[in-house]
Symmetry: C2
Subunit: 218 residues, 2 copies
């Protein structure tokens, strides 16, 4: 199964790239710059090989990555994610599109959830990509710790979607990563609370002087 | 320190009563019925004694409990909590008032967060009790497991308030219970997300066929 990370050259892209590659998925890094995509792919492949895996991650332009993908993850900041999704709409038709997107702003050091009028980033993405199956997941994973191969973590990932089959596929993708446990969080409407959890996790870490935090449901 | 559980004869009251008694607090159970309060207090005292503690929990009418309290916890369902708080307003002047209240409804087996116009139960309670220091805490603790003395749990409790001193006191109360870890969650505004987490935890447990869930920030 080909998983494309659209804008996968950034923070959350790193952890997803090497961990999903080690789990056996075919990974494509998408970028606005082919050079940047290939450079990042090479970096990830070195990491994968050093961890005993097969370094065959590809680097492509976002359009090509979306074309080749079976499943696409929109690993782009919320301020730019939707315009990119709009542009890739046709290439993502009939495919599963994962949204780890969290819309938020920071004021006086405090993060605040700022959902669009649709109610959440996931709901907005589903409105834009009418012929894709949007699945919300990975929103509460702290990217830096996730990108550290030496990091030991136990995190729960709430997965929600209006397409039950797509949700099942994404729950398997989540479960393929050691240290992650997938929870079925129901329909896309649940994305409001899932996404809102992220600014809370960031604020908790700052206020309580802890490492960056994920969540567990126990 | 006298901690009164207003409406403490119910589900969350049980766990709070015996665990805070064992931690050394003076506990008063409040009820609309003096007989019910005393009966429950006797039940809790038997439990406390069986666990090696001092069974001196008192049972009182809510008004008296509020009068005697240093700290009051409003352990009443959201549909009735605010009218009770309104009635006890004067007796709670200058005191710390803890809100574990979560406003929600269930439709087709799915729980949904239904905050009042103030934005959250905690914010509404603070508006009503203008001369009390409202602190939001304990909202994400599943009552039945919490009331089971044999239950082993590790849960995090997000504590928020607009009064930093009151918040500190409540964080100590939380920390006094083995298995609970208090997190400073900032100002009362954070209560929106803290409260919304509860219907999500209930839905996750049902959908994924797990025990009732609390939360950890890791
Ligand atoms: C300030 C700066 O932080 P930053 O890179 O902007 O990252 C801040 C946040 O974006 C980052 O914490 C995100 O993971 C927050 N975050 C999310 N941030 C988002 O923007 N979007 C999200 O969806 C998101 C989700 C999320 C989920 C859980 C969670 O716990 C955090 C989450 C930074 O890098 N600071 C350094 C301090 C300085 C530093 O980098 N020193 C390095 C030097 C080497 C280097 O620079 O890498 C060192 O450690 O020595 C650090 O904290 O590591
Ligand atoms: C359906 C009924 O459930 P209930 O008593 O109405 O409780 C349902 C929910 O309210 C309960 O799960 C709450 O804890 C949910 N809940 C909250 N519920 C709220 O109403 N308000 C809250 O603020 C709240 C917070 C909360 C936080 C975390 C969390 O995980 C759950 C939370 C029930 O008791 N069912 C039984 C099944 C039948 C049964 O009781 N059998 C017993 C018989 C003995 C007995 O009845 O006690 C047995 O043999 O085990 C059960 O699940 O144990
Ligand atoms: N950071 C976290 O801890 C974290 C955790 C969970 C979820 N998320 C979510 O994951 C997404 C990515 O977060 P991130 O921290 O990884 O972001 P990031 O590193 O800041 O950016 C990721 C990539 O987005 C692309 N990008 C930037 N501006 C763009 C634009 N105008 N148009 C198209 N692409 C653009 C860039 O790729 P190119 O330059 O190669 O095109 C960049 O490398 C966000 O939606 C975020 O909410 C983040
Ligand atoms: N259940 C949970 O898992 C849980 C977890 C965390 C937080 N909470 C929160 O804690 C609060 C209490 O929940 P609970 O499950 O413990 O509730 P509960 O057991 O259903 O009720 C608690 C008590 O409220 C009193 N009460 C009922 N109707 C009242 C009315 N009209 N006026 C005044 N008092 C009334 C009753 O006491 P008397 O008959 O003795 O007066 C009752 O025993 C809620 O706000 C809830 O959101 C619950």
């Amino acid at each position: 199964m080909k998983v494309a990370l659209i804008g996968g050259t950034g923070n959350i892209g790193e952890g997803l790239a090497f961990r999903l590659k080690l789990a056996g998925y075919d990974i494509i890094i998408g970028s606005r710059s082919e050079e940047k995509a290939k450079s990042k792919a090479e970096h990830f492949n070195n990491l994968v090989e050093s961890l005993g895996g097969k370094g065959d991650i590809e680097g492509r332009l976002n359009d090509e990555a979306a074309e080749l993908a079976d499943v696409a993850v929109i690993t782009i900041p919320w301020q730019h994610a939707f315009e990119t999704a709009e542009r890739l709409k046709n290439k993502l038709k009939g495919k599963i599109v994962i949204s780890p997107i969290v819309p938020m702003v920071v004021e006086n050091g405090i993060f605040r959830y700022t959902p669009p009028e649709e109610g959440s980033a996931g709901l907005k993405l589903q409105r834009i990509l009418g012929e894709s199956s949007v699945v919300v997941a990975f929103n509460n994973i702290p990217a830096k710790r996730f990108a550290n191969p030496a990091e030991k973590f136990e995190w729960d990932v709430a997965v929600c979607s209006d397409d039950d089959d797509a949700k099942k596929v994404v729950m398997e993708i989540v479960s393929s990563i050691k240290g992650l446990r997938a929870f079925d969080a129901g329909s896309l409407d649940s994305s409001r609370t899932i996404e809102a959890l992220t600014p809370m996790l960031i604020n908790l870490a700052k206020k309580n002087k802890t490492v960056e935090l994920g969540v567990r449901f126990v």
